[in-house]
């Protein structure tokens, strides 16, 4: 098989604002993925090339990058699905640490703000609930935190807003659909979480390597919950009456 030419954006912003593309020639082995090619470069050409990776099995969500302009996991993108010239950039939504590694720490800060699983009180233990209730939440629990959905979200890329981003709406959906959870997180998403900024362009859904239907099954239902919670006139009236002390 012929070699592929791989162009990688190299930079270390803490040392210099300059960046450059470097091109490497990599021999191809059958079934090879982009991450294998990056490893080849690391092992044989330049050991300082920075890349974040763990499992090389599409389970951990570490090796997100933009491959020929498309946000993808490097470990899940086969070379034979690409041409003989490939360009790899770090994901764009986050500041670059070095080369292909970005600083995604703000996601961990957001995670702290989302109220954790809080079980209903007074249930008999061990809990009993049905498989259908598990299945409903499961889709969102497959999230591998690769942050590709955050990367393509134009609200996060281009606007200064408080929107947490699709990944975190998925987390909230996973919690909300837990059959024993007792917390309503729609108030949080309405205000602090900035869900109103999302205008459902479905970009996030299209890049999810776990094929979570982020917009259809997490964002839109969460928006509907917010509408029910904050804008439904009858609902608002009932809430007011309930709150009043008789």
């Amino acid at each position: 098989m012929e070699d592929v030419k791989i162009k990688i954006r190299r930079s270390e912003p803490a040392l210099s604002s300059e960046w450059r593309y470097e091109e490497y020639s990599v021999p191809v082995v059958e079934g090879m993925v982009v991450l294998d090619a990056v490893h080849y470069i690391q092992n044989n050409i330049d050991p300082t090339l920075a890349v974040r990776w763990n499992c090389k099995a599409a389970r951990c969500g570490s090796c997100s990058a933009e491959i020929d302009g498309k946000p993808k996991l490097m470990c899940k993108t086969r070379l034979d699905s690409l041409g003989s010239k490939i360009t790899i950039n770090p994901i764009k939504a986050y500041p670059v640490v070095k080369d292909l590694v970005t600083d995604v720490s703000q996601n961990y800060e957001i995670a702290k703000k989302i109220p954790p699983f809080t079980p209903k009180q007074g249930l008999q233990e061990p809990w009993k609930f049905m498989q259908i209730d598990v299945t409903r939440s499961k889709e969102f629990r497959t999230c591998i935190e690769c942050f590709l959905c955050q990367d393509v979200c134009h609200v996060i890329r281009e606007h200064q807003s408080n929107y947490y981003g699709p990944k975190h709406v998925v987390k909230i959906a996973a919690l909300d659909l837990h059959p024993i959870d007792s917390i309503d997180r729609s108030e949080l998403m309405h205000h602090d979480g900035g869900l109103g900024y999302c205008d459902i362009t479905k970009c996030c859904q299209n890049v999810c390597p776990e094929e979570i239907r982020i917009t259809d099954n997490a964002i839109i239902p969460e928006k509907e919950r917010i509408v029910d919670h904050a804008y439904d006139p009858i609902g608002v009236l009932i809430k007011k009456i309930k709150k009043r002390k008789w």
């Binding site: 803490a14 050991p47 300082t48 763990n54 099995a57 086969r78 498989q131 837990h178």
Partner: protein, 572 residues
Amino acid sequence: MPAKTEYVTLKTDVLIIGAGGAGLRAAIAATEAGSSVIIASKSLLGKAHTVMAEGGIAAALGNVDPQDNWKVHFTDTYVEGVYLSNWRMVELLAKEAPDRVYELERFGALFDRTPDGKIMQRPFGAHTYRRLCYTGDKTGLELIRTLQDKVAHSPARILDEFVVTKIISVNGKVAGAFGISMRDGTFKLIECKSLIIATGGLGRLFKVTSNSWEGTGDGLALAYRAGAVLNDMEMIQFHPTGMIWPPAVRGLLVTEGVRGEGGLLYNKDNERFMLRYSPKKKELDARDVVARAIYQEIIEGRGSEHGGVYLDITHRGAKYIKEKLPSMYMQYKEFSDIDITKERMEVAPTVHYHMGGIRVEPDTGSTNIIGLYAAGEASSGLHGANRLGGNSLTDLLVFGKIVGASAASFAKNSNQIKFDESAVREEIDRILSFTDNSGTNPYQLIDTLRESMSKNVGILRNEKDLTKALDTIKSLIPKIKGIGVKGGLRFNPGLLACLELNNLILSAELVVRGALERKESRGAHARTDFPMRKDDVWRKNIIFTYNDGKNDMSFVEVPELPDHLKELGKEV
């Protein structure tokens, strides 16, 4: 680039190295006990190798098979560990497993259910009853996310993408750890009263492995150099089923859950060969048995097209397979263009787990170094000569909790041990010596080592091959003095490789020396030149102690079962 030699000092009661299941569970226990906690992790939080655990977590809940109880779980684990385990660790595991699983559920984990709404349990290799609680084939991910969330909402401080390079100990007492924060490229000293090692295993010692990049034996080397005793180093588990084709994904795990859900193994003659090797337990015998059977088929010429055997689950139907084994479906579709609902998988054994590791006290997880603890795959004594599938996740929760609580309680009653700054200065010099431009590339030496280990320290071992591996290791030792890369401290994979190579080579030497010494076959350690198990001579652990630059080997008898456990064998 001028080398930076300054460092930041942090202080904590309990320092935990590793943020997999054991490290996170320990952090929860330690913060609940009121200790300040720092978790230092080589990877980003939530990316630990635990996410790769697929099949489930073993606990005798008896939800599907009401006859199951801790006694049967004890016996299964102890017997399949081939009488090399520490009985007390096995007892703790079997007894506490149900509590830890229900606790994880209370923390927010969602397990698949039985028709009447209880936690579902699937069969697994050499577990007498259906015992594995699971979330499809992503149980490890569910476990990590649940614990990660719990820790994120706790006062524990997380230093992720932080590489610990040295544990500082003074006169057999732990004082802290030193390392590099990869993201900002700075050195940090962490002073602590107690320290827990939860760094996982050493699968990356081999070329064909299911392990992620983290498994380079770091924790073992750190603890060992600080004076801790290592145990059963020769005991390495091959998972019977790893992917084999295409070459780029060779070694990637195919969960035992496939066989748990009814998957059958065939050779190229379409013979269901496990009927021959294990008429009773068949595909679901212990991993050492199934791995050896597959290997035997392959070397005797009955292997598949690419040198494996076939694993067939197609008879379960597409809907069932996609529901129960979604990752496997994805994995084969994406990486090998195979639809496992219609076609057979090709599989071969892959290095999966290290039963050996840091020797610990069962009830506390403490080591011989005061204030130093270990849990999970980095520790040793629980699984003996062979680990049962599903017992690893149980191990993380049961012993993670135990070790977190005991390290916290130790910290509460102790003072920070003082140490001389020269220890830190020496470590900085050592690390910076690898950033000298003129050094040789560490990756090539790592490749040589991994190649030799996979070739010579395999499923079937013998003196000749093991000696070859030892010779390779010996030839590499002088060479690693000259390794180095350019670049600085910030996210420099080459520098990490230099540091890891020192850990790998140490682990490799101990694995091979242990394997040469154990002149019998037991569990995962199978010697063609000593095919019999020799209980009269070898019911003992081989242990290693670091002594002034030398690796001293000695032996400890495996403790006899106490009366209350001896009875169990007769009962179950």
